[in-house]
Structures are given as C-alpha cells and as structure tokens.
Symmetry: C2
Subunit: 503 residues, 2 copies
C-alpha cells in the first residue's frame, strides 16, 4: 500500500490518506479482508502524527469501506456492489485477473523514506547510494566516446545473455587480483545485484524452501526470497557477523536450500564476518551440502586494515557463488552486476535470464569493461576509499559530539553505514515526527529483520550526503532523538509485515 502525501497544504493530510485508500479499495487493489497497517505504523512510515491516520481510518469506517475490531485491526469490508474500475470508469475488475489476486506491495515505509530523502532541504542518511558529486562523469563520457568510436554500432546491438565476452574476461582478471579465481565462463553479467538475487530464487527455490539469512540483513534480498515463497531462517549477527555456531545448532533440524550472507561491511550493520567464522561457515556448508550465495556488494569499500579473503577464495568444496555489483563503486543507473559461480550454475542463471530480459544493457557493459581495463575503476575506488573514510570519520565525530545518552554505534571498517542503536526510551513515532520537522531521514531497523529486533537501530548512510551536511545532519538527528525521549522503555519495534512464512 503506497501512499503519497503532498505536504504543501493543498489538501488536509487525513483527506489525502482517506482518498487514496478509498481508491485502492474501490479499485480492488486492496481486497476484502485486507488488513490496513496499524495506525502507528502508517504514521511512522509517512512521518506524520498518529491522529491524522486515525482520522482517515474513521472516515473510511463511516463509509462502510473498512471495519475495525479489537485484536483484528482495520480490515477492508466486503463490497456490496460490483467493483468498478475506479480509475477508468470502465467495466473490468483487474484484480480478478491477477495471479493470486495480485502482488501485495511491500511495506511502504522504505519507499516513503526514500522519497522523503529526495525532498529539498532534507539531509538524507536513508539511502545507500554513492556520493553523487564524486561520480566520475568525465571518465564515463571518455569511455563512452572510446567505445562508440572503436566498437561502433555493435555497442548498441544485442549482447549474449551471459554478457559481453570481453567484459566477462576483464572481470575475471580483475577478480583474480582479489583472490577470486574464476574463468570468464564462470561469470554472468546481471542487470544489477537485485537481479542476481532474484535469479537465484528462480534457479534454486521452490515455494517452502528455507533460506538462511543474517539478522539484520539487506531488505531487498529478503523481499526477493519472500516473493519466491521461501521460508527465512534468520541467524543473529554480532560485531563479527553471523553467529555461525547458532546456525550449526539449527542445522540439526533444518535443511536450508541456500545460505545468503554479506561477509564484508554488511548492509545494514557494517559488520565483517570474522576469519574463524568464515571457515566455520564453509565447513558447515560443505558438511550439509548447502550452497552459499556470498553478497560482495561492499567488499571493495574498505577504509581500514587488510581485507579478509572472500568465502569464494576460501571455498574448497565448490559451494560458493559470489555476487557483485558496480552500483556502489560506479554507477547504479547502469544496472550492472556479476555472479561468479560454477559453469552449471551460470548456465541455469543464463537460461532464466534469457526468458526474462535477454541480456544486460550492451553499452554500459562496454563502458565499464573499458574503465576496468584502463585502470580508471581501481583509481576511482582508491579515491572513494579516501572520500568515504573522511565522511565516515566526520559522522562518527559528530556522533561523539552530539549523541544522546543511551545511543550506541561502532566505527565500521568499510561500507556505507553506521548502525546506530537508540536509547530504549525513545518514542519512535515521535522520533519520526521530529525527524521530519528537522528535515533529516534515516532507515529504521525493522525492515532488516524478520522478527522483533532486540534493540531499535537506525541505519545511517554516510556516503551519499555531502561532507558539509554530515555534522548538521547528526545535529538535527540527535535533536530529534532528544526530544523523543520518554520516561519509560518503549515496546520493541515490529518487524516487517510478513508476506511469506517466516521461520
């Protein structure tokens, strides 16, 4: 359920919410029995007061469109007349045609936050993008020009489903330098790492299969696994990453189909899986015969110390598939990532991908191929390590100066995020209101868990805001936190609404 508010005051907010939900009910998008989000949750996600949502729901109730009962929440009532197509005034009821009555929208909070982050004047710690002012546009332009003049029309025609072969060769050499030994044939180019996650579900998962994830983990991965009908076995993580001994004990009773893990600078926690746990995880996977999908998204963005070997490098059993992306180190808009895996797996991914979109964009592959080959990418990564290290330090320093008692954080050795624990006495609804007033945004922790998180955290991104915004943003945020404190402990945050069975 996506609600978009125009906060310029053209129409009262409760009226905007009421109208949009009414349209969704009349159009059949929200079917009979659909449970509206709890008032507090919707208020949080929209960054508005709870009373506004209560007023909107009361209107819907008075129109007979929804019904509220204690313990059941607010649910859509049966319609007593044929469903018109509210948008078109036409006769067809589309939801009747959709598979399984249509896909349910994911929790609107994430989308609403991302949209609020792009409002003018807002300092956004919410989104995981590279620094826009440091994107190497001129290198992109130079590489594009060179590709077009050297390759000509082929740069705008089809590429093989597995990817442009010179790109696969260049990535293979580039990965070899990092200790990931794979041939070009063991690489497939995907249209962004999200597609890699999605295709992994097409290749491996039947509905009901179990996937091991970390808690917390990347919410886009959870969405992909859930959409495939997977059960999620969430293993708690600490500062050294997934607690592999807990996984070991659970494997006595569960037979997961896949283990999904971000060993380096995890999203959202920034944790690095320790060397011991890497070995332990690989031993478990080999013993029980479980493939590992290693998400390498942030591995290049290391600001301290020496890198640990990737799971793929350590793997003796041939069980590790590694997924990478150019979205954090170059250009997310090109939608380009890669999967390194045994050839049989690559073939399955290619068969799935061919039906779905034929291949990833050709000119982008050729441009990045050139930027890797001529050293532009490695030079850019070196530059950005220094830029992001400074930005991280600036955020940490600001936290040191302005933090409220009870807040916790670590300085991450890499990646894009500070994972910041809140005092237990923060009223989160009030915090959302205050943060909106202060024009600062963040990602709350609950979309990153299948279940109640033990402590409420905020994921604070330091790569996207300008260096000059970091201290001001933390000042605003801590002011919002301070004015959201209450005299008693608050109830834990709820996890994301389940769209699939959770383990």
């Amino acid at each position: 359920m996506n609600i978009f508010l125009d906060k310029t005051g053209s129409s009262p907010l409760y009226r905007q919410i009421h109208n949009q939900i009414r349209d969704m009910i009349l159009s059949g998008e929200l079917p009979t029995g659909y449970r509206l989000p709890p008032e507090r949750r919707l208020a949080e996600s929209l960054g508005i007061a709870r009373t506004t949502v209560i007023n909107a729901y009361e209107e819907l109730k008075s129109e007979g469109l929804v019904d509220a009962r204690v313990g059941r929440g607010t649910v859509v009532s049966p319609l007593t007349r044929p469903i018109p197509d509210a948008e078109e005034g036409r006769s067809i009821s589309w939801p009747h045609y959709f598979r399984d009555e249509g896909l349910r929208p994911p929790d609107p909070l994430v989308r609403n936050l991302l949209e609020s982050a792009s409002q003018p004047g807002v300092i956004s710690f919410a989104i995981g993008l590279p620094s826009p002012t440091d994107l190497p546009l001129s290198l992109y332009e130079a590489a594009s020009r060179a590709v077009l003049s050297e390759i000509g029309p082929l740069a705008l025609l089809h590429a093989p489903t597995e990817g442009h072969m010179p790109f696969r060769e260049t990535i293979s050499r580039w990965l070899t330098k990092r200790g990931i030994i794979c041939t070009p044939e063991e690489i497939i180019i995907v249209s962004g790492s999200q597609q890699g996650l999605h295709l992994s579900t097409r290749v491996f998962l039947n509905p009901g299969d179990t996937v091991v994830i970390e808690a917390p983990t990347y919410f886009g991965a959870m969405e992909a696994f859930r959409r495939a009908g997977a059960r999620l076995l969430a293993i708690p993580a600490d500062d050294d990453g997934m607690q592999v001994d807990i996984l070991a004990s659970l494997l006595r009773h569960h037979r997961p189909k896949l283990i999904y893990v971000q060993p380096s600078f995890q999203n959202p926690s920034g944790a690095v899986l320790s060397a011991d746990r890497r070995q332990h995880l690989l031993r478990l996977a080999a013993r029980y015969g479980i493939p590992i999908l290693e998400d390498d998204t942030y591995a290049e963005l290391r600001y301290e110390g020496a890198p640990l070997p990737s799971l793929k490098e350590l793997d003796q059993a041939g069980l590790v598939m590694t997924l990478g992306t150019f979205s954090k180190i170059l250009f997310p808009g090109l939608r380009l990532g890669w999967l390194a895996a045994p050839r049989q797996v690559i073939r399955q991914f290619a068969l799935a991908k061919q039906i779905e979109d034929l291949h990833a964009g050709t000119p982008g592959q050729m441009v990045i191929e050139r930027m890797i080959r001529n050293g532009d990418l490695d030079a850019h990564i070196a530059t950005m390590r220094s830029v992001y290290r400074t930005q991280r330090d600036r955020m940490i320093a600001a936290l040191d100066r302005h933090a409220v008692d009870g807040m916790t954080w670590h300085r991450p050795d890499g990646g894009f995020y500070v994972w910041c624990g809140l005092p237990r006495t923060v009223d989160r609804t009030r915090l959302n209101d205050r943060a909106a007033e202060e024009r600062v945004s963040f990602l709350p922790s609950y979309p990153c868990f299948t279940d109640q998180p033990p402590v409420t955290h905020l994921r604070l991104n330091f790569s996207y805001p300008g260096i000059e915004q970091l201290e001001e943003g933390i000042t605003r945020l801590t002011r919002a936190i301070r004015s959201s404190l209450t005299s008693r402990e608050q109830v834990p945050e709820r996890a994301q609404s389940a769209t699939a069975p959770l383990v």
Copy 2:
C-alpha cells in the same frame, strides 16, 4: 541442449557432439530419462549430415550413457555411480540443488542459427535486428552528451521502477499522436519487450492457465508463456492475421487468461490483422472478459498505406495492454520498452519488476527521452521506413527473379520479414546443409508454431543485411533450395519440442 561445433576441422564433428553430450550427462545437466533430440532434428539444427549425429549417438550408446528403443527415442540412462561435477572435479552435484532439477535449455536451433548468422561471410536473413549501418550513432552521442551536461550525476543514479517520469511523459505524448491515449502514469518502462512479456506472466499467469496466441507467433513470447507453465491455445492466422472466428468457436470450451497478439506486421508472418477482425477480437475479449496483450513491436515500421488503429485505440472495454520497444526503431542494446495499460496493471508490473531488477537503465531512458522530444526519433523512423522499403523491394525482386517453383511469398506492408513458403518436395536436412555451404542463414518456421506447421516456411529478414547483400543472399538461398529438392513430398516439419503442455 546447446552444442557448439568447431567446423575448422580440429576434431571430427561426431566426436565433438559425443564429447559435449557426454559432459552434459556426466555433469547431470541432462538428467536420467532426458530424451535427446531426434537425430534428424539435431542434424538440422547444427546444419550437418544426419549420419554424423547417428555416429555420435552410437558412441554414447556403446558407453552405456544413453539407451535407444523404437518409439521412445534416445534417452539418458541411469548413472550407476555418484555424479561427479565433471567440470570442476569437485564433490557437489549442482543439478540436485536446482529448482525442479534445473531449467531445460530451449531448442538449440534458434541459438545455433543466430550464432551461425554472425560467422564471417554468412549472409544472415535469420535475425530480427535493425540495419547496423543505419543506427543513428551520432544522434545517440549528441543526446548522451546533452543528458550528462544538463542532468549531471542523476543520469547515472537510480530511476523509479516505473521509469524516469519525463520519459513516461514524453512517451505518453508520442503515443497520443498515434491515437494511443494514455497518461504517463499508465506507462511503465520495461527492460526490453521480452521483459514485458515475462512480467505479464508474473502478473497474470498461474501454471496451467491458458494463453491465446497466433500460429505462427513470436517464439520468445511462446518461451515466456511456457516457462510460466501456461497452456498455449494457438489460433491459425492467414494473410489478415489471427482467424478470430476460430477463436470465437474455441471460447465455448476454453477460458483463456490472456490473449497475446501482434496486430501489425506480425513476427514471423508479416500479416496485419484486418480492421474487421480487430473489432471482432475486441468484442470477443469484452464478451468473455479476457485481457489482450497487444505487441506493437513493428507498428511504426510501415512501408505502405495508412495505419490501422491499434487495438488499444479501438478498445472500449479497457481490456487492452499495449507493449512496445525501442529495439527495432533505435537501439536493441539499451534494453528499453514500454507497456501502456490501466494504472492497476502498471502497479502490478512495477511490484514484480522492483523485486527483479529495480528499474531499467537510467541513462538510456534519458537519451531516448531526448531523442523523442527533439524529433530525432520520428525523423529516424521516417528515414528507416524508406531504407527498409527499399530493402524489402530488393528482396522481393530477387525472389521474383530467382525463386524455385513451388515457393510462395507476399510483399509485407511493414515489419522486418518476408514469410516464404517452401516447395513441399524440399528435403529440409539437405537444405540446411546446402545453406550452410552457401553461407546463407534463415529462421525455419517450426519454432514459431506449437504444432506441426501446415507448410514449411522460412522467415527471411531484410532489415539487417546490407542492401548489396540481398540479391546475393537470395541467389544463394534459392540455389540451396533448388539442390535440396527431391522427387517426393517430405514429411511436415515438427514443431518445437514441448517444454510445457500444449493445447
């Protein structure tokens, strides 16, 4: 099952085939009970003599890897020892982990033909690409430069899942000029029309649902529907397109979930659905409440007469979704297409797409947006109409001059293809051999049918080869046909091997 032959003579062909199939069996890619393609079919698809394939199969039999029985064909035998990973020498058997034992490769013929088409010296009538020498590279470069300088870093960051809003607005205005009235919110940008076809299966189809298609139809659409487990209800088409009266009679017993149709310059036949049949089809769809997916891929490429209104333009019931692409009129390598449909449908496509690849590439959207807005695209289409009209006429003239008795064809009013009927006495295996010797390629008709085609056709593309190659290519082709004639009628071509139930 994909087999790649090195015809330079480094190793005997039968040995190459044997080795590759053996590897696929030992690696588990071809599971126990998998039926190998009939010898004649494999020979056709590889463009080699049937005896070569027979020799390869004999080798496999002698090793106990396959078993042949009359009436059952040649099937993979049970392995009597654990399956090793033949490629890696490692311990994991990947197919055991794949969903449903892994995706089956589609018929190799299409892929083999496309690959043979790119061999040096081959004149290819096989593939449906725009003329490479006429791609407007300088307009692309100019638009790219303008986009980067005006929009800056945002051109390489994320776009919304539904697409870059100015692109949707510009497409909406552009479609309005063609009589397709839709708002920007009624458009979603897809990563090529293949993704539009695939997403339609995610939105609409449960396994076992029936989809109406034309016979013949676009094989990529059939693959997408089959992969979704759909049953295909194939309606014969003639020179006026789908025989809608046949569909009418079948709707008494079938309740299809979706009708897929290419009303204009259909792939492969080039037919145009007549005005009367358009109205009849819309009446049927409205009466039975069946959504229509109108594939508009070739609609702009009209070389004669006035355009007929699209189904979307004629639609009174709100049942038509129209799918278009920039792959034929601009750059297939950018992977950009669009779907125009009611907002509820767009929302479902967006929910499916978001999980699968977030969004289509950003810079490509901005570049084409600009090329539409500044008139470059319309000017290019006008130019290409003239180029392709000339190429079509050259191919038709060459057919007039060189054709063999019994060949049939029409001059298509638009699109990319001449649909050319063969004399019934052609030995198709011999034709494949001769065509390979003559270095000319084509698409045979059977991948375009679910069932035995009534007459064997070749789909001859006239857009991709250079104008100077058209007469020479037809000369080679007709020479190959002439030398493949036999004294008696041949058995009809077999339809594509079924990977899903066919109706």
